[in-house]
Amino acid sequence: MNLTVNWNIIAPILVIQLILLITALVSLYKTSATRGPKWMWIPIIIFVSIFGPVLYFVIGRKDA
């Protein structure tokens, strides 16, 4: 499996995803309480791409 990938094209997607992920983690770190245990959200945010952070922002935050 060797897809010829032009990294110049893919890079923006990765950068945006990374910003989303970091924002979610920062928000998680700062918030006092989440829906469900706080540590549970860390793997969700990190390993579920795009939808993990979104899920956290939509239902994880209590003040949302």
């Binding site: 897809l3 997607i13 952070p53």
Partner: protein, 262 residues
């Protein structure tokens, strides 16, 4: 008027504190960037997909720039709408649940400016997010796939933005009427899906329905000027958005225990 501006600024501040100003535009940007790249790599992705007998040749017509941009819009119709509704479901409902609303309406606050400010702030973030994502999609499509006529892309973007504004208006109304945030999301999405479904079934009767907007935007990208007459749908959409807001204000006045100042 001054009150509306005050509330508007409060809404904007709150959306910044909720990180909405970061994640909603980012998700739209991501959706916009991904579709053209997916189309660009589609032949290679298919070639590397399993279950293909040796030597299979897949010939795919190369899509035009307009087609790819239209595909992006159809992504927005599913995931974009979902994200919008989910990010705005608590606009009025959660404020009422937490008691903030009754705190606000303990003062002589006009319901009109309250709802109007909510709506304006929601429209602002929607417009910024969508335009950002659309511009990115446009750029990538031109770079990777092929040229698009500027007027067509602009017309399609404008028409589609109006559709998202309609979605936001529906969410504002439902957020006033339904008290649980989950319920707001469900009712809004169900209403929008039902409206789209019914108006695609009875296309003749629902010729001017706002749910035609997304289809109309795609038509602009596919056929350009020979798309359906646009202005009638624009008028009914703006009219129905005003109606939705008026109903939202009416329900709000009925429901709020103290605030009866209009």
């Amino acid at each position: 008027m001054r009150q509306t501006i005050l509330f508007y600024r409060k809404e904007m501040l709150e959306m910044a504190r909720n990180y909405k100003w970061i994640w909603v535009p980012l998700v739209f940007l991501l959706l916009g960037v991904m579709q053209p790249i997916m189309s660009y790599y589609m032949p290679e992705i298919l070639q590397h997909a399993g279950n293909m007998p040796e030597g299979t040749v897949i010939s795919m017509p190369t899509p035009t720039g307009g087609e790819v941009l239209a595909q992006t819009l159809s992504q927005y119709s599913v995931i974009g709408v979902l994200i919008l509704v989910l990010s705005m479901m608590g606009m009025v409902a959660s404020e009422r649940q937490s008691g903030v609303a009754s705190l606000i309406f303990a003062k002589p606050v006009s319901i009109v400016s309250y709802i109007l400010a909510k709506w304006c702030s929601a429209i602002t973030i929607t417009a910024v997010s969508f335009l950002l994502g659309y511009a990115a999609a446009w750029y990538y499509t031109v770079q990777l796939i092929g040229p698009i006529q500027i007027t067509h892309a602009l017309a399609a973007g404008g028409v589609y933005l109006l559709w998202l504004c309609f979605v936001v208006s529906v969410t504002v109304l439902v957020s006033v009427g339904v008290s649980s945030t989950g319920g707001v999301a469900f009712v809004s999405l169900a209403f929008i899906a039902l409206l789209s479904f019914i108006s695609s079934l009875f296309a003749k009767v629902f010729m001017w329905s706002p749910s035609q907007l997304s289809g109309l935007a795609a038509e602009w990208l596919h056929y350009g000027e020979s798309a359906r007459p646009t202005f009638a749908i624009l008028f009914t959409s703006i009219g129905s958005m005003a109606l939705l807001l008026a109903v939202a204000m009416f329900i709000m006045r009925r429901k709020s225990p103290i605030g009866t100042h209009a």
